[in-house]
């Protein structure tokens, strides 16, 4: 609580804490936004865009949960249900989760964290947003014209031969979105290599930068494989190119290999950035240096590398050889090591820290718990024998939602609250923030924990009807989903409210140490009045540094 009172005094002392000459006031009107090359504005463009897709995908999820209230398939037909889970998966994965932290928060803070004026290629950055919008338009076109029913995985031969829906336009949308991600990845890698402020050596970089560097490597090396896979799937559907077609001696399983060669690393595109955010939050709100900095940074790289050699764990029941299965199982266990390093080091950072339970910290703590459950159940499904039992059941659904929603979305919300004062210059209302964080945590667990039980009991995924004995747990899950919905709508309301009426934040409301907090809020167009110089490690959180910073503010 000390923190917010300190922020208040800062504002009182500086009557002009809201920097009037900033990137938001630098140009007015729609045109100044649509033609901007400012990484901060592009981050905000992405924020609005992914919000639209999140809402559509959330509505699809809500409809599915309502359908699943009763055992009979009474509200929507099975065809519609197939389309709902496909649109939910496609939009959430490619149009919300993958761009969420990288393209929104990454775009906004990476250049500031490394003391740069912008990313290396600002015009390409804007171009990638336009590609993303075009991709979204293609996806929405497919949705409006009847949708797609293949599931987000587009497995052949269903997608190439039997599916009677807009597979090609949807795949084209994902293809284009992929190029948008690739451009973002190239931009981030080059920016981090070439644009660091003087003195900012690799091991002085914030852990968020390490995480996004690892993420960008995956974006750049895995996404093109998805692109060629979806392209081959589409031409096969159009002209019967036989690469996945058994009639010509082609192999549908090759599609699965190629798809998961991308999509398993893509899971790490959807969690590594979250881990980066959590590293920032945990150390800031414990007022303690991160425990084992180099280990946390290098574990991001280890996760990225290992992520490329475990894809076969999605194919244990696909007739893949048992030896391949054993190796993929073992390698998948190995991913638990760097992930465990992170959880251990976050916990050790908390130990004896002077913790304040601000909203971002609540999300961060929630992340650690939920990610741990998601990770440990990941070991269950990476075990050959167990996977045969729970494959294609709600156990898997619950597992990856603990990682992607309990992990990534919690981290995204935590990061958004943390950097909101920097983005807008204003604070969100702390009480409502904490309330929303707790509602989200409770709603999330109520939604997805019952699904572990459902899966263990044998309820398969992707069905709109189920035997009556599963009803109790499904009702609990739907009830949880409605609570979770409240947890997401609340921030939407108070964030919008805070744009005009939130308290002024001042340059550094959290007394954080990163370079991005050394400039005014909102930052000027080129981020800093003068290029900052890094002289020490990024997390100088200790009593002395606190006092120094306090003096500097005074």
């Amino acid at each position: 609580m000390n923190t917010s009172s300190n922020a208040t005094t800062t504002i009182v002392r500086h009557s002009g804490a809201y920097a009037l000459d900033n990137y938001l006031t630098a140009g007015q009107g729609v045109k100044s936004w649509l033609l901007t090359t400012d990484h901060k504005r592009i981050g905000i463009l992405y924020l609005w865009t992914i919000l639209v897709f999140f809402l559509i995908a959330a509505v699809a999820a809500a409809l599915m949960r309502i359908e699943l209230l009763t055992p009979a398939g009474d509200l929507i037909s099975s065809e519609t249900y197939n389309k709902l889970f496909t649109v939910h998966g496609v939009l959430m994965v490619w149009f919300f989760l993958i761009p969420s932290i990288p393209a929104v928060l990454g775009n906004f803070v990476i250049p500031m964290m490394i003391g740069a004026r912008d990313v290396a290629f600002p015009r390409l950055n804007l171009f990638s947003w336009y590609l993303f919008v075009a991709a979204g338009a293609l996806a929405l076109w497919s949705l409006i014209h009847g949708g797609v029913d293949t599931g987000w995985t587009f497995y052949t031969p269903y997608s190439t031969t039997y599916a009677n829906s807009h597979v090609i336009s949807m795949a084209a949308g994902i293809f284009v979105a992929g190029f948008s991600s690739i451009i973002t990845g190239i931009n981030f890698i080059v920016t981090i290599h070439k644009m660091r402020a003087p003195g900012l050596r690799w091991f002085r970089l914030p852990l968020f930068i390490w995480a996004l560097y690892a993420t960008s490597l995956i974006l750049v090396l895995a996404t093109p494989v998805l692109a060629i896979t979806l392209a081959l799937m589409s031409v096969e559907r159009l002209w019967g190119v036989g690469i996945f077609d058994p009639k010509l001696g082609g192999d549908p399983i090759l599609f699965q290999h190629l798809f998961w060669f991308y999509s398993h690393p893509a899971v790490y595109i959807m969690i590594l950035p979250g881990m980066g955010v959590i590293s920032e939050l945990i150390t800031c709100f414990s007022r303690k240096r991160i425990f084992g900095y180099a280990w946390v940074g290098c574990s991001s790289m280890a996760i990225a590398v290992l992520g490329f050699i475990v894809w076969g764990h999605h194919m244990f029941v696909s007739s893949q050889s048992i030896y391949a299965g054993m190796i993929f199982s073992l390698l998948s266990f190995l991913v638990a090591v760097p992930s465990g390093v992170k959880v251990f080091n976050w916990t050790a950072t908390l130990y004896k820290g002077s913790i304040t339970f601000q909203t971002p910290m609540l999300y961060a703590l929630g992340f650690i718990g939920l990610f741990t459950i998601g990770g440990l159940t990941g070991l269950c499904v990476a075990t050959l024998a167990v996977d045969v039992h729970v494959h294609d059941t709600y156990f898997v659904i619950a597992h990856f939602h603990y990682i992607m929603v309990g992990g990534m979305v919690m981290a995204f919300m935590g990061g958004l609250h943390y950097w909101w004062p920097k983005i807008t210059g204003r604070l969100y209302p702390e009480f409502w923030g904490k309330l929303a964080a707790m509602i989200t945590f409770i709603g999330f667990n109520l939604t997805f924990f019952p699904q572990f039980l459902l899966g263990y009991l044998g309820m398969p995924r992707r069905y709109h009807a189920y035997p009556p004995e599963f009803q109790m747990l499904n009702v609990l899950s739907t009830a949880g989903a409605s609570i979770l919905g409240v947890g997401y709508v609340l921030p939407l309301i108070y964030f919008l409210w805070s744009l005009k009426r939130g308290r002024l934040a001042g340059p550094n409301p959290w007394r954080a140490t990163g370079l991005e907090w050394q400039t005014s809020s909102p930052p000027p167009v080129h981020n800093f009045e003068a290029t900052p110089i890094a002289t020490a490690s990024p997390y100088l959180y200790d009593a002395e540094a606190d006092r120094d910073l306090h003096m500097a503010n005074a």
Binding site: A116, P122, L124, L221, V225, W239, G242, I243, L258
Partner: protein
């Protein structure tokens, strides 16, 4: 990539060296992306050549080594011209640069023309899947699969060559207007791309045309 066509250092960079090395690194990473993009198809080729090696060898003999070999020479020579163009840009020899770029593009166009004639021959010989594909001998389906992969790989490569020709022609226009006087980086990174396209072909040629030779 982010066309730095003027000598002025873009505002996000401190100096021209930083700008140059950023552009170059960006291109290299993009090429890594391209390797993975082609990689999916190369994997498909590898899997099926491993599975149907005999038919793939037989099918490969139906491709015309003369067309393929000539095109290999054409593309390699165009890469030499491109390398000389980069040198000319570095030395700020404008007229030579324009000529070399045009020559590079011309050889690119020559490659595409030869490829076009070769496709026509493939069509006449009933080697195009779905278009009256004929195969005497067993395993016609697997042979058809080989030709699908052949058309997918060379088609994707041809798209890249076309993009390269367009880029080089634009560069030639800009070079004539004197846009690269102190800043030759766009020529250099386009050169990287052109060499990459060349190298892909260097792999395609033996995999597709020479797989049947003993």
């Amino acid at each position: 990539m982010n066309a730095t066509t003027t000598a002025v250092v873009a505002e996000q960079f401190d100096d021209i060296q930083q700008q140059h090395s950023a552009a170059k690194l960006g291109m290299w990473i993009f090429l890594a992306t391209e390797v993975m993009f082609f990689g999916g198809l190369f994997l498909a080729y590898t899997v099926y050549r491993f599975t149907y090696g005999h038919v793939f060898a037989l099918a490969s003999r139906h491709l015309d080594d003369v067309f393929g070999g000539a095109n290999t020479a054409v593309l390699l020579f165009s890469s030499l011209l491109m390398a000389l163009a980069v040198r000319a840009a570095e030395l700020d020899r404008r007229k030579q640069l324009v000529r070399l770029l045009l020559a590079t593009a011309l050889f690119g166009i020559l490659f595409m023309t030869i490829k076009g004639f070769e496709y026509r021959k493939d069509f006449v010989e009933h080697l195009v899947p779905r278009f009256d594909f004929r195969w005497d001998g067993s395993d016609a389906a697997n042979a058809e699969l080989f030709f699908w992969i052949y058309f997918a790989l060379t088609g994707l490569h041809a798209i890249h060559v076309t993009v390269g020709i367009a880029l080089i022609l634009v560069l030639a226009l800009l070079a004539r207007a004197g846009k690269f006087s102190p800043n030759f980086m766009p020529v250099e990174i386009t050169g990287l791309y052109w060499h990459f396209v060349d190298i892909i072909w260097v792999f395609l040629f033996p995999l597709l045309y020479l797989a049947g030779h003993r």
